[in-house]
């Protein structure tokens, strides 16, 4: 540090920083010059090119400036400046996490009745809660058991299609179909997991990815059962103890507004759906929190940390992983059934790899294994883009970049704080 103050070292530092920044800008130029600089567009008689070298120069300039600043220590300065408030916020967050959780729960329960909550707001909140539920479900697989599942959307799809088919073919209600959809998804999870879970984790990632694609290909091509690319429409809406949310109920049934003696309002169904998904998501959360204290949940977390040690202690890794995989798949199936009844229409379009990537991004950004982190990440990834609709095209770009940056910056996620489920020696009042 002392040597840096001499003029010679200072100029040397500048020269080195300039050289480094120049190199970075040069690499950027090489990366961008063809892909961004030359846009191929449909012209007469084939493709022609549309040049955009101004963009390339802007990006290269930005990289040059950024790299220069980083080399001259701006990065450290910003890091130091941010460390205190961020650290403080995270610290306060963990200190008051219990209160914050109850506050958040209260807000979630009261939200639909607040003055600002119109149909659109409740709809967005419902969409976010679906992702919270998916995130919590995937968190069991990825966060607790440490199994990277890239095809989570497959179980979501299985749940959605099973609900649609059971409800349409046998006339079962939403609540009767829910366990069936979960069971179907869990069965698929076991069938898929059985051959693969004996192997290294990386294989699982690729196989689940492939499985997600296969499910989608089957959904597209198996016209007679799934309706092909047209999907399934006219899926029954959910009912409250068999009472539909319609203005004029079919013969022999009472609709909800008649039963309660209130005026019919189409928003009732929206609000009901909101509470259903809230309850489902909380069930997942409750299950996870309890499971972490069971021998099974402890085995999951132990496996994540060290598989060889687990085997030495007599835990059967395959069965333990399989149970985590099946439970995660089941919750994915529940979420799928809910999605199905909410939309009233499903098609293979809704179950692409991007959905898996979004859910995984939620789990990873939130901090693997952290329940609150998932909620925050879901808010950031689902609700915030809603506010910036004109940048919707850049959403996935930002997701991808975010996943890389989070892995580099905070590999354990934004809310990385995780209490051990059990302590050998409880803290003696003086904190950790």
């Amino acid at each position: 540090m002392l040597a840096d103050t001499t003029p010679l070292a200072k100029s040397g530092r500048w020269a080195e920083a300039l050289r480094d920044a120049g190199l970075a800008a040069l690499v950027m130029l090489g990366l961008l010059v063809l892909i961004v600089g030359v846009q191929t567009v449909d012209g007469e008689g084939g493709l022609t090119a549309n040049f955009r070298f101004d963009w390339v120069l802007i990006f290269c300039g930005a990289v040059f400036a950024g790299r220069l600043a980083a080399k001259l220590g701006a990065g450290d300065a910003i890091g130091r400046a941010l460390a205190k408030p961020v650290g403080g916020a995270v610290g306060a967050f963990s200190a008051y996490s219990k209160q914050i959780v109850w506050l958040g729960l209260g807000f979630a329960a009261a939200m639909p009745f607040m003055p600002f909550a119109d149909r659109y707001v409740v709809d967005v909140a419902t969409a976010m809660l679906i992702y919270v539920m998916l995130g919590w479900g995937l968190n069991i697989v990825v966060g607790l058991a440490g199994l990277l599942d890239l095809g989570y959307v497959a179980f979501y799809a299985v749940g959605a299609y099973s609900y649609a088919m059971f409800a349409k073919a046998f006339g079962l209600s939403f609540w009767e179909c829910l366990p069936l959809a979960g069971a179907m998804a869990a069965t698929f999870g076991v069938l898929l997991g059985f051959p693969v879970l004996r192997l290294r984790g990386d294989y699982l990632a690729i196989v689940t990815l492939g499985f997600g694609e296969i499910i989608r290909i089957v959904l597209i091509n198996w016209y007679t059962v799934t309706g092909g690319p047209n999907g399934i429409s006219g899926i029954p809406r959910p009912t409250l103890f068999g009472m539909p949310f319609t203005a004029s109920p079919p013969e022999g049934t009472t609709s909800v507004h008649e039963f309660f003696g209130i005026d019919f309002d189409p928003n009732h169904r929206i609000i009901y759906l909101y509470f259903v998904i809230l309850a489902l998501a909380l069930v997942v959360n409750f299950f996870t929190n309890r499971a972490r204290r069971l021998p099974l949940g402890r085995a999951w977390e132990a496996l994540r940390e060290d598989e060889i040690a687990c085997r030495a202690l007599g835990i059967n890794p395959t069965n333990t992983k399989l149970s985590a995989f099946a439970v995660g798949a089941m919750f994915g199936g529940f979420a799928g059934a809910f999605f199905s009844t909410r939309q009233g229409f499903i098609s293979p379009e809704s179950f692409t790899f991007f959905e898996s990537a979004v859910v995984l991004a939620i789990v990873v950004l939130g901090g693997m294994g952290s329940q609150i982190g998932v909620v925050i990440a879901a808010f950031v990834l689902i609700v915030v883009p809603e506010l910036f609709r004109e940048f919707a095209d850049y959403r996935m770009l930002a997701f991808g970049l975010g996943m890389v940056l989070i892995m580099i910056w905070r590999p354990r996620g934004l809310i990385a704080h995780r209490e051990p489920t059990i302590r050998l020696h409880p803290p003696q009042g003086n904190g950790r």
């Binding site: 961004v36 440490g146 990386d202 492939g210």
Partner: protein, 304 residues
């Protein structure tokens, strides 16, 4: 018999392309033990560079097909290698020594990022390219069915074969290849003996990306259409090829690639075209159940 021969020719062509991509997976896995998830995207970028280069060349007015092919191949290799190097530098190197899933998640993020980056800068629509290498010949005719070999198919075989020869020479006979094999066996020991591990890993990514770039150029020539999503399925299949051949084994990657190409072609020819993408996946699962080490792979020993 004629139909069968035709499928064999098509399958070998497809298999060559998969084999070239699979080498990138298997090399990276061998040296740092991670699945380079963004490798399929590297191949996709190679294909896009080929399209862009062809468009530029036709605007400049280069008439000679041979010259155009050489220039396009060089451009694709150059740009894609730079991508391979940068990705390793930015997304993987800082994570060496982090927890097990970190590089894999980073690679997935990179893959999503690159897909959307190409989609945003080049558009989501399919890019058609006029046939650059017309011509071919009829091998023989039987029962009214003519077995043809197109010039492009011959070109693909020749290039693949030549690249494999060069590649085998690099790995087997040069200092770089020795360093690479040393890092693969034990990177810490290699570092102690004076091998620059970082540099070797960078070179591995560059070689893998260059091979994927060639595959991208060839697929552009072969099918004449490119879009931003091709890397996903091709990457999945090439990975399957690498696992089938035995991940970490270089001849295995080529063998696996050829087998996957053949399986996919015959599956579409005799069974069902709609489910052709399922074929590779079924093979992957069967291999993992019955022979997890692949055809030419060594069993992996996990140590504490």
């Amino acid at each position: 018999m004629a139909f069968f021969t035709q499928q064999l020719i098509n399958g070998l062509t497809l298999g060559s392309i998969y084999g070239l991509i699979a080498i990138g997976y298997t090399m990276v896995y061998g040296i740092i033990g991670m699945i380079n998830f963004a490798h399929g995207e590297i191949y996709m970028i190679g294909a896009f560079v080929a399209v862009i280069a062809f468009v530029l060349l036709s605007m400049v007015g280069v008439g000679s097909v041979a010259l155009a092919l050489v220039v396009v191949l060089l451009m694709a290799i150059l740009v894609t290698s730079l991508y391979g190097w940068t990705i390793e530098r930015v997304a993987y190197r800082p994570l060496r020594g982090s927890f097990r899933l970190a590089p894999l998640i980073s690679a997935i993020g990179m893959s999503v990022f690159l897909q959307n980056y190409v989609q945003l800068s080049q558009g989501a629509r399919v890019k058609p390219l006029a046939p650059q290498l017309p011509g071919g010949m009829i091998l023989f005719e039987q029962g009214g069915f003519a077995v043809r070999v197109s010039a492009i198919q011959v070109f693909i075989w020749v290039i693949t074969f030549a690249l494999m020869a060069v590649f085998a020479w690099i790995i087997g006979r040069t200092a770089l290849g020795r360093a690479q094999r040393a890092c693969e066996q034990d990177s810490r020991m290699a570092a102690l003996l004076g091998v620059d591990v970082d540099r070797t890993i960078s070179t591995t990514f560059i070689i893998g990306a260059a091979l994927a770039a060639v595959a991208g150029v060839m697929v552009t020539l072969y099918y004449g259409v490119v879009d931003f999503f091709i890397g996903f399925l091709a990457g999945l299949k090439a990975f399957t090829a690498a696992v089938l051949g035995g991940i970490g084994s270089l001849p295995g990657a080529v063998l696996g690639g050829l087998l996957i190409g053949l399986i996919e072609t015959f599956w579409s020819a005799y069974f069902s075209v709609e489910y052709k993408d399922v074929a590779a996946f079924v093979v992957l699962v069967l291999v993992l159940i019955f022979r997890p080490t692949g055809l030419l792979g060594r069993p992996e020993i996990e140590k504490v």
